[in-house]
């Protein structure tokens, strides 16, 4: 699979937000993303994990140009999307779609299912007439497991799992090449979650999709992803093939995340000791110096406070830790 072409390249992406400060005081700057660089191969699923506030959703939105990055570039099939003329950018938008976490909240309650799914066609494929649009909607509904008679119903008549199918159909209708899935199953019951994950896997095979799968649930990410990117406070801490990451984590944060994942196996769950990840994530407004993880890391040394660790190639991926070579971390689960 390694000889498939890169379809997306992210170069030194950075994004900050100004936090509205009180009157007469200076606004604060929150660094959401810093120095993010990676590539995605065609047909690959890249998982992005991290705790809330790590920047994973911001990254997804920057890739789709729903947010404008402050620095760096997003190259889609070799082209910098942000620099394209408006008309060209619209064409590219067909290729890049997104699925959101809360399926019901992301669907317009006043539109029928058919209208919701057809909506992206109005702007992204204006050349289609009403008949062609309807045919495309029905075909897409079938692909995601919705019945044709549902076309005139409204979102509130659907359960969470069905609503997520509508959200997936809306993303799929423009024949995209890449879909950013932002916590697509987090709001769903476990039995429905498995249905949606299988559906995404089937659609990926059927349409040759490339997926970016953003989630805080490492079990789900493990299940769907070829490679996994771990973010902490807006920075890349580790990037590796799924099996390598889970079996031989190189970054103490990755290892800590893995040991915290609940295991649905009572005997193993009772035996396991959780790698004490103390405290909570520091504020991204005032992140720690050097390695931002050092305040929660039990391996931290003086150097970690002084210098930010560079991303280094481990032979199996990338890691940003001063001590990765000397630490022999056990698998997480």
């Amino acid at each position: 699979m390694d000889n498939r072409p890169d379809i997306l390249r992210i170069e030194n992406l950075g994004k900050t937000f100004s936090i509205g400060a009180a009157l007469f005081s200076r606004p604060l700057t929150l660094t959401a993303l810093q120095d993010i660089s990676f590539t995605i191969r065609q047909g690959e699923t890249l998982g992005i994990v991290g705790e809330s506030g790590c920047g994973k959703s911001t990254l997804g939105r920057c890739i789709l140009q729903l947010l404008t990055p402050d620095s760096g570039r997003v190259l889609w099939m070799g082209e910098d999307i942000a620099s394209l003329p408006k008309e060209e950018m619209r064409k590219r938008r067909r290729d890049l779609q997104i699925i959101f976490q809360d399926p019901l909240a992301s669907l317009n309650p006043r539109m029928t299912v058919g209208e919701i799914i057809a909506d992206p066609l109005r702007t992204l494929m204006p050349e289609l007439d009403a008949v062609a649009r309807r045919a495309k909607v029905l075909k897409t509904m079938e692909a995601v497991g919705l019945l044709p008679e549902m076309i005139n119903r409204y979102p509130h008549e659907f359960s969470g799992g069905q609503a997520q199918r509508i959200g997936i159909a809306r993303a799929l209708i423009t024949d995209p090449k890449l879909i950013v899935c932002d916590e697509p199953v987090s709001a769903l019951d476990v039995s429905i979650q498995a249905q949606i994950l299988n559906l995404l896997a089937d659609l990926k095979d059927e349409f040759g999709l490339t997926l970016i799968f953003i989630s805080h649930n490492l079990s789900v990410v493990r299940h769907v992803s070829d490679r996994i990117l771990v973010l902490y406070l807006g920075r890349m801490v580790e990037l590796a093939e799924g099996d390598d990451l889970y079996e031989a984590p190189k970054h103490p944060y990755t290892r800590a995340l893995l040991t915290a994942v609940p295991i649905p196996d009572p005997i193993r769950a009772r035996q396991r000791t959780i790698d004490g990840l103390e405290g909570e994530i520091p504020s991204p407004i005032n992140p720690p110096s050097g390695c931002t993880f050092r305040t929660r890391c039990r391996f931290a040394i003086g150097l970690c406070a002084e210098e930010r660790p560079p991303l280094e190639n481990t032979g199996h991926g990338l890691v940003a830790c001063h001590r990765w070579k000397e630490l022999e971390l056990q698998p997480g689960a």
Binding site: E51, A201, N217, L218, L258, A260, V261, P262, P266, R272
Partner: protein, 327 residues
């Protein structure tokens, strides 16, 4: 065993415009001192409504019948004033979203101290000292500083610690936790689960963990009760249900749960959707989604019956289950 709560034949109904919906049917279970019971099921299984009924917290169109015995006292049908003697003091409940349970305009210490002032007639100063000690006990970083904060100034994990501290202030016999870690990050969730474990050990509190996530209960619960369509469909120890599930729904939940240590090409989900309580299927409510069903399941509802080893299940299929696809 020393039982702190026994529920017998409890029903919960909700009056709609024209009809009535039954959210919980014929539910019976008991809870021993210091034990942890996991109540597992999907949305609409009745798992939350059953415990809201016990707490007297049903919506206005809700009605509960049956018995929920806290010692000699039946909590079902009790007037709110009378219930207040027991709520908070003997039995407390925490929810998924702490922000909806905390008063945004009061400092943490003020709303926590109120519990002690009200239930134990403690004076305000002493109550606040107790509050800070309890915040420290539940692992709140910098407890004095957080006690003086407002809820919005705290992270999600800290707010849930505040809720747990509030629930434990009167050392209740029973703590009911409704999806307490669902909204939290995995690292904070792990801290919380550890906290629950140590609290049941230290205080002898019986814990009811309501959740749809089997991963959360595996390391924590002593016993489990699986609910579907408003009824208990399987009961037993955690090990029995995980390693030898006897109800096809329990088996389905286990196969739907992704495991971080194993990567399977495909998960094995339960087919179809949970039933609408207004239109429950005939016979066994699970039969439309069940891979093991046969003729009888379509017409006759299986009773919850003992199957040996202290276990119970409501299913017509005998013996251990092998995986099967829905035909």
């Amino acid at each position: 065993m020393d039982k702190v709560l026994s529920v017998h034949d409890m029903n919960v109904t909700f009056a709609l415009h024209q009809s009535e919906v039954r959210a919980v049917s014929e539910l019976s279970f008991s809870l021993a001192r210091g034990e942890t019971l996991a109540v597992v099921g999907e949305s609409g299984s009745g798992k939350s409504q059953a415990f809201l009924a016990i707490m007297g917290l049903l919506a206005r169109n809700g009605h509960a019948s049956g018995r929920a015995m806290l010692g000699d006292v039946n909590l079902i049908g009790m007037a709110p004033d009378a219930l207040d003697q027991y709520r908070g003091r003997d039995i407390a409940m925490i929810f998924q979203d702490p922000m909806t349970s905390l008063n945004p305009s009061l400092k943490v210490k003020t709303q926590l101290a109120e519990v002690l002032v009200r239930h134990q007639q403690m004076d305000e100063r002493k109550a606040q000292t107790e509050v800070i000690a309890m915040l420290e006990r539940v692992g709140m970083p910098e407890p004095v500083k957080r006690a003086n904060a407002y809820p919005h100034e705290l992270s999600g994990g800290m707010r849930q610690r505040v809720m747990i501290a509030m629930a434990l202030l009167c050392r209740p016999k029973i703590l009911i936790a409704d999806e307490p870690t669902t909204a939290l990050d995995v690292t904070v969730q792990a801290q919380m689960l550890d906290l629950f474990k140590s609290l049941t050990n230290d205080f002898g509190t019986a814990l009811v963990m309501i959740t749809h996530d089997l991963g959360v209960v595996a390391g924590l619960a002593d016993r489990m009760m699986v609910m579907y369509g408003g009824r208990a469909v399987e009961k037993g120890t955690t090990d029995q249900l995980f390693y030898d599930p006897r109800h096809p729904y329990t088996l389905g939940l286990l196969h739907s749960t992704p495991h971080v240590a194993k990567r399977a090409r495909r998960l094995d989900p339960i087919q179809g959707l949970p039933p609408s309580l207004e239109h429950l299927p005939s016979g066994c409510a699970f039969h439309p989604r069940c891979a093991f069903r046969f003729e009888k399941c379509f017409v006759e509802r299986p009773p919850l019956a003992e199957i040996g080893g202290g276990r119970e299940k409501a299913c017509w299929v005998d013996g251990p289950l092998q995986r099967r696809e829905v035909a």
